[in-house]
Structures are given as C-alpha cells and as structure tokens.
Amino acid sequence: MKYALLICDDEKVSPSNEEIEADPVHRAWADDLERRGGKLFGVRLRPVVDATTVRVRDGETLVSDGPFAETKDFVGGFVIVDCADLDEAIQIAAGHPYARWGGVEVRPVWE
C-alpha cells in the first residue's frame, strides 16, 4: 500500500536542512526507510509564511497568503512510502524526528 506521511509541526523550531541532515534521529529514520526500500518520493517544504493559497469562486481566482486551513500544526514536508500495511506506515512515521514534537499524519494514497 502507498501512504503519504505528512510531516507536521507548529514551526516554533525550524532547523536548517544541514541540521536535519546531521540529526542522528533523522539519519536513523532515513537509513531505516532506505533498508525497507519503501520511499517513493519526499520533500521538505518552505515555512508556511511562504505559502500561497489559490481558490476559484464564481470563476474568480482568489489568491491569499498562508495555508488554507487554520490549524496549529502545518505540513512541513511529506514522504510517499510503499509498505505492507498501516502498521508498517505507523512504524516509519514514529521514527521521524518531527514525531517527537510535532506529528506525522499517515494518509493512504487514493489509488
């Protein structure tokens, strides 16, 4: 099954890419994913201040700043994984460093 892991937090801390690379927890997580051979695609996203939301209402394009949803946590990155079942996806999500202060939303890919 394919799952999107949405890596979320409140952006109170924002480590640089280099810091994330050097984080042993992140490294262990990436190595584990590599071993499973399950990673299809993944990216980190720029903070939510750089986000733009586009809506079309009555044929008019409305552009606004910020994310669409008013939530405490924002999606800071996502990974698409292919694994056996939800339990394996949960296991992968639990290994991500952001799971310790933010959260990882596991969403099955609609196929």
Binding site: M1, L86, D87, A89, V106, P108
Partner: protein, 403 residues
C-alpha cells in the same frame, strides 16, 4: 430425531459460541468484512432448516464455518470482481471437509477491531457486531446511540480497515503490550456499559465476560486478560446488591449474603492464576482490590492496609487522578480520615478532576465520617449537581437528608 426445542437451544448456543469464529474465519479467507457477516448469517439460517431434519452436527462450529465458506464460494463465483478472493478461498483446502481443524481466527479479529487507528466508539461497536454477533439495533440500544449513527459508524470503520490498510493479524511481539491494552480497554468499556446502564434485553456484562473468557483461552500465557476477567467476575458477583429500589447502595451497606459466591470463587481463582506469571498489570491490581472487598466477611473486616498498598502500586503502574481518589479513600480507611481527606483536598486543588461527581461525593463522605457536617453538606450538594445517574442522585439526596 432431535426435538425442535433442543435444536433451537443448540442453534442459540452455537450463535453465542461460534459466531465470532465463523466471521473471523471468513474475513481471513475473503478479506471482505461484509461478505463474511452475510455468509455467517446465511450459515445460521441454513442450520435452522437443516439441523431439525438431520440432527445437530457433532461439531456445530465446523459445520457452520463450512456452510459459510461454501456460501462465500457461491457468491464470489457469481461475481466477476470476486475472482481474486475466490482464489484465496479455494487454496485453503476442500470446503467439504467439515471435520478438519480450523485454526481459531478470533484473535486476529479482536486485534483488528480494536486497532488504535479506528475511533474508539467504532472499536466498541465493531467488537460487539463481529465478535459477539449483536445486531446493529441491539448495539445501538445497549450503547444508548441512535441506530442510524451506529450503523454509519460500523460502515465507516469497515471502510477504513480496507482503505487505510489496517492489517488483519495478531500484532507482532513489540506491538503486543500496547495493542493488547487497547483490546482490554474495549472489553472493559463493554462491561461497564452493561453494569451502569443495564439493558434487560441484551446483557452487555455477560457479553463482555464471554469475550474476556475467549481472550483468556486464546492468550493463555498473558496475565492481563485473566486479570480483566477476574475483575469482571468479582464486580458481577456484587451487581444485584448495588441498588435497592433505584437507590445506589455503597459497598459498605450492600447485603453481603446476596453476593454470588460462585462468581467470587471463580474470580479469585482466575486472579490467582494470573498472578502466578509474576507480571502485575493494572487489571490484575484492580481485580486484587475487588477480591479484597469481595472476600471480606463484613465492612469492618476489610483489609484496608492491603487495599491501600494495591492502590499505591496501581498509581505507580497506571497513574490517573481517579486512581488517586480511590487511593485517598483507602488511606482514610487504613490510616484515619484526616490523612485521606488531605489527599482529596490536594486533588481538588489541582483541578484535575473538575466536574467529576465522585470527587465531591468522596469528600462529602470523608467529611461526614470526620463529623464536619456543614462542609459535608456543601460537598453533597455539589456532588448532587454533577451525578450522572438517577440511582446516584437518589443516594446522595438520602445521605444529605441523614446528615
């Protein structure tokens, strides 16, 4: 030839004992929860026509599973999309062989129904539907939920199992403690629902005890399912004495001669067997506390120091403000009211039990015992405002009058 009444009894017993097993096996074979339930239903309908004619089979469970499996084969053959499921179904052996040993699949079903990715109310409903075989209407009534809400809850849960890829399996060893705890919570909730809001038509405490017995049989080396079963049996033994004329009766004032000694004996034996594993857990501790009460000859003969020690251990293993409140009562009874009252006041000041009626009710009782009548009255009045059931409100009002 078997008399129809005997057959009816045999079918009722088979429904109680075998429904979960038949459904679990069919889910394992087809991966389709709705098909599994439909075919189990069909198998019981077939038993109603066949058994009076041919007699009750030697192994009703095997007969029903085979009948359900054949029914699934028929339905999948007629359905083009069923081809893949059909392949899984036919490689599992000759469906005509009714006497072959069918492995018990119920454990996989229990763990899947209680998967933490499902909303909690859905876990309860799914367990009652697929394992215990209650109808949607019966579950809705017992859980005080609208039938349409409950039906929708079941549909969504089954869909999520399929679409989110919740595995149909017993979790591996590293996940087992956490997942087993989730199963036990569901069974205990079912029990408590039946205990607090009894439904005369469908006894949920009996269903919960039956499910706990099954779990104990399927996981004989795990002590906590036994602890939960013991806890249920010990509570059940006192159930008839919990209210009198619609008024709650406290443990102290219950008529002990009416406690069910058979259930108490079984509860104590079950607990002893769990404790031989030397792996204490929250349910074993709660059962041990219940056993102290159930085996005390009279209120004065209650071993409060032991109960206090058990609550201390429970607070360490599964800390919660409710456990603290109970520990405070044990301390009051073992060491004197002021010590217990001090802990209750501390809890009240922390605000962690704000709105919980048993906080002021406990305080009121301790203040009454300490002879602080004015404060007791205020606490009883506060508890009366918060109490959720009529039996409790009547009890509190009675205590208030007696002050």
């Amino acid at each position: 030839m078997t008399a129809p009444d005997d057959v009816r009894t045999a079918i009722d017993a088979a429904y109680r004992d075998e429904w979960g097993q038949v459904v679990a096996t069919l889910i394992g074979l087809t991966g389709d929860w709705d098909l599994a339930e439909d075919c189990a239903q069909d198998a019981f309908a077939a038993a109603l026509t066949t058994w009076p004619r041919d007699g009750v089979p030697r192994r009703p469970g095997a007969w029903l599973t085979t009948a359900a499996r054949n029914r699934a084969l028929d339905r999948l053959r007629r359905d083009a999309a069923g081809a893949a499921k059909l392949r899984r179904l036919t490689v599992t052996g000759d469906p005509g062989a009714a006497d072959e040993d069918i492995p018990d699949e119920r454990l996989r079903l229990i763990f899947t129904c209680c998967h933490p990715a499902l909303p909690f109310p859905a876990r309860v409903a799914l367990t009652l539907r697929t394992l215990a075989g209650l109808s949607t209407a019966e579950i809705a009534r017992a859980l005080l939920t609208a039938e349409s809400t409950l039906a929708q809850r079941l549909v969504r849960a089954k869909r999520k199992i399929q679409e989110a890829g919740i595995p149909y399996r017993v979790p591996p060893a590293e996940l087992l403690p956490e997942r087993l705890a989730a199963v036990l919570v569901v069974l205990y909730l079912i029990f408590n629902q039946g205990y607090d809001e009894p439904d005369p038509q469908r006894d949920l405490t009996a269903e919960a005890i039956r499910l706990a017995r099954t779990l104990v049989r399927l996981m004989p080396t795990e002590p906590e399912p036994r602890g939960l079963l013991a806890l249920m049996l010990l509570h059940e033994a006192r159930r008839a004495t919990r209210t009198r004329d619609g008024v709650l009766v406290t443990l102290e004032d219950q008529d002990r001669s009416r406690w069910d000694q058979v259930l108490i004996a079984e509860g104590v034996t079950t607990l002893d067997k769990a404790l031989t594993r030397r792996k204490a857990g929250p349910y074993q501790l709660q059962a041990a506390i219940a056993a102290c009460h159930a085996t005390a000859p009279d209120p004065a003969g209650t071993d409060w120091p032991q109960i206090k020690a058990l609550y201390g251990e429970l607070a360490r293993l599964a800390p919660s403000p409710v456990v603290e409140l109970n520990r405070a009562v044990a301390i009051a009874m073992a060491d004197g009211v002021p010590a217990g009252l001090a802990l209750v006041d501390e809890l009240a000041a922390s605000g962690r039990l704000a709105g919980y009626h048993l906080l002021p009710a406990t305080r009121a009782d301790l203040l009454r015992r300490a002879g602080r009548i004015t404060e007791a009255r205020a606490a009883y009045e506060e508890a009366l405002q918060l109490a959720p059931t009529e039996a409790e409100r009547r009890f509190l009002a009675k205590r208030l009058r007696e002050l």
